[in-house]
């Protein structure tokens, strides 16, 4: 089968053959821009029980409004907007985190408990929850749990919570459309792999390996 026929055989619904071939050029981000962020529902690659389970998860609600608001603030502290891309919220990371704790319930107690632990820290210090203290105060508290090697022993549970929150935020951001573009991933498109480019081989002295 020649390459043009095989590309046609993939049968992309929304993409023309031209766009596919264009996407073969290095650094071309056309494919990423054309596809939407939301998962498809009528999908020949999903089994009926999977579609049913995802629907059921989507109908559930785990975090209450206060928890979601706290998660939102934390997520944007962890991944803020910068020159290259938007914030965690811009990439819908809080919604991702809500889905993940429903999909992977072992996250539920650590996340719920961690959020409450955080609020207790703030209530004890300021008589207010994390959401209601000032941004400066928020960052001061985050500083106490964001650096595992220098955190005080009594903050260790907060460190564990923040590690988890950071993990989920980073993964939620960098696997989103915005995040994948930010990280500069080139791929997920038909191409011809001919090895590491010559200039890169030269850069690392790997021409003779």
């Amino acid at each position: 089968m020649n390459r043009r026929d095989s590309l046609k055989a993939i049968g992309f619904g929304t993409l023309s053959a031209t766009m596919l071939l264009d996407a073969c050029k290095p650094g071309d981000k056309k494919l990423a821009e054309e596809t939407s962020d939301s998962p498809k529902t009528d999908d020949a690659s999903r089994q009926p029980n999977e579609i049913e389970r995802d629907k059921k998860l989507n109908d559930e609600k785990f975090f209450n409004d206060h928890e979601m608001a706290t998660i939102t603030v934390l997520a944007d502290i962890i991944i803020p907007k910068d020159a290259r891309s938007g914030s965690a919220t811009d990439a819908k990371v809080p919604d991702f985190i809500e889905f993940i704790v429903k999909d992977k319930p072992y996250n539920q107690v650590p996340m719920r408990g961690g959020l409450r632990w955080l609020d207790l820290q703030c209530l004890n210090r300021y008589d207010k929850t994390f959401l209601d203290i000032s941004p400066t105060q928020q960052l001061a508290l985050v500083d106490e749990i964001a650096y595992p090697k220098k955190a005080k022993p009594e903050m260790q549970q907060g460190v564990a919570f923040f590690n988890r929150m950071r993990d989920l935020t980073c993964t939620g951001f960098f696997t989103s459309k915005m995040g994948i573009e930010d990280i500069g991933y080139v791929g997920n498109a038909p191409n011809k792999w001919t090895g590491v480019p010559a200039d890169v081989l030269k850069q690392y002295g790997m021409e003779d390996v």
């Binding site: 950071r166 696997t175 991933y185 792999w193 081989l201 690392y204």
Partner: protein
Amino acid sequence: MSDLQIKKTSTVYDAIIVGSGAGGGMAGYVLANAGLKVLMLEAGPFFDPAKNSSQLKWAYESPRRGSSTNTRNFGDFDGAFGGWDLEGEPYTTKDKTEFYWFRSRMLGGRTNHWGRISLRMGPNDFRGHHIDGLTDDWPITYDDVKPFYDKVDRLIGVYGTVENLPNEPDGIFLPPPKPRLNELYIKKGAAKAGVKVIAGRGSVLTEALPGNKDRGACFFCGQCGRSCKIYGDFSSSSCLVIPAMKTGNLKVITNAMVREVLTDDNGLATGVSYINKDDMQEYQVKGGMVILGASAGETARLLLNSKSANHPGGLANSSGVVGKYIHDSTGSSAGGWLPQLMDRKRYNEDGTGSIHIYAPWLKDNKKLNFPRGYHIEFGGGMGMPEYGFGFGIQNVNGSVPGRDGKPREAGGYGAGLKDDVRRFYGTDFGMAGRGMSIARADNYCEIDPDMVDKFGIPVLRFHYKWSNDEINQAKHMQETFQSIMHEMGAKYGPPEGPETNYGLEAPGRIIHEVGTVRMGDDPKKSALNKYCQAHDCKNLFVVDASPFVQQGDKNATWTILALSMRTAEYILAQRKKLNV
């Protein structure tokens, strides 16, 4: 009066094949193309990679960004419906056994998601008893199987390089993909550590397969594990079963869970009985011969559940070996990251979804405290971020200076963290050993005396324990990994220690379990002859990995394909002589 009854048809197929994986698929392909009327029963649903693959989906097209679920154990986009834990289909263990059994109920079985790593067993794998007396010899040699390996290479396609290694036979190779940048570091570091790294061997069409118009040449998306929409890699569904159906001689019934093989008063197989999972009704079908390709566990289970007056210990089991000698590959892994690769230039590094490089076993066991060996599979590069990307940044971002040359505090948040994730992208790599474990009669599966599954079929019970041979092999893997990573100039953690058996995966986790219906010349010590024909029942054959006497440090699939082709051709020759 109940609606439930056994529906029997009068059609007598030339052959009934149970299972549509590598073995069943190949048997069906050969026999259908030879004009036999074949019925194939598959316990799972129909699956055509062209329609059903998740290939080329972005991570964000999955709400869990590609992470696994209980029904898709290797990731949301993975080609295999799992898996370890099938609803209503339990298995048991005894005597503190820890055994994990992966079942992939779908057309093509596990060949939809496997790593496409295609290694021939070598002369010392078929006949290794002379090395240390620990293993039983196969009744056949590499030379008996070589013609079939050659035919499989031509029929299905495999890439690699000719290396002339004594126990790592070369194939008829398509060109291998070049290493990724991380893999060049691995190759260089491994050489310094005394580990020879060669091109990987994978069943991926890096070039168009001569004479085949149905399959496309690989376009290097790196997603073989999702199964390939253009049939660029080997799945039994795409490469064997679907083409065989086009001959008009192969009928496939899906969602058919076979309960037992039926025999007549002479002890010959007459067909099978199965439950249709769609209508939950019972059926019996007739065949001139029965060919089992249901996987090592399921085939043994089927035989043991097919008791009759002529076969009181289970079909084909007068020797008592059915279920015994089950063995899985050993497996232990490690990984790290390369500070040299921080701030990498981005380019498409997807490559193929099978190994670009690997290290065959070339060491001398006389100097070691364990028998035989393992190969090492390597990987690393700038792949698509999926769930887990960015995890654990606090473990790495404090160990190198920042852009300003000043020391960094591990962890953090904000603009600096965002920058860190960008800097570290593409620096990581991994390696995994896959080795030969010794087949032992004392590792076995049997029928649980009490439990049935939701279909009423008695389930398997496993009894399996690693020995010091395997544990010491895993220790050596860990030491070797440390040495390689050190020579690479990588950053990495400490090796796995005795408390985890040196990272040795639990039995069954590598999903290379073989050997439950071993072949041999002596009917007292084996269930099948050297053509995988049952000693006790001449119209019964086994074509999955059950007949393996002893696996090598080579993934089983290519050998399953070669042996199944050999058995199918034997069947055709015997039919010509009217012996079957």
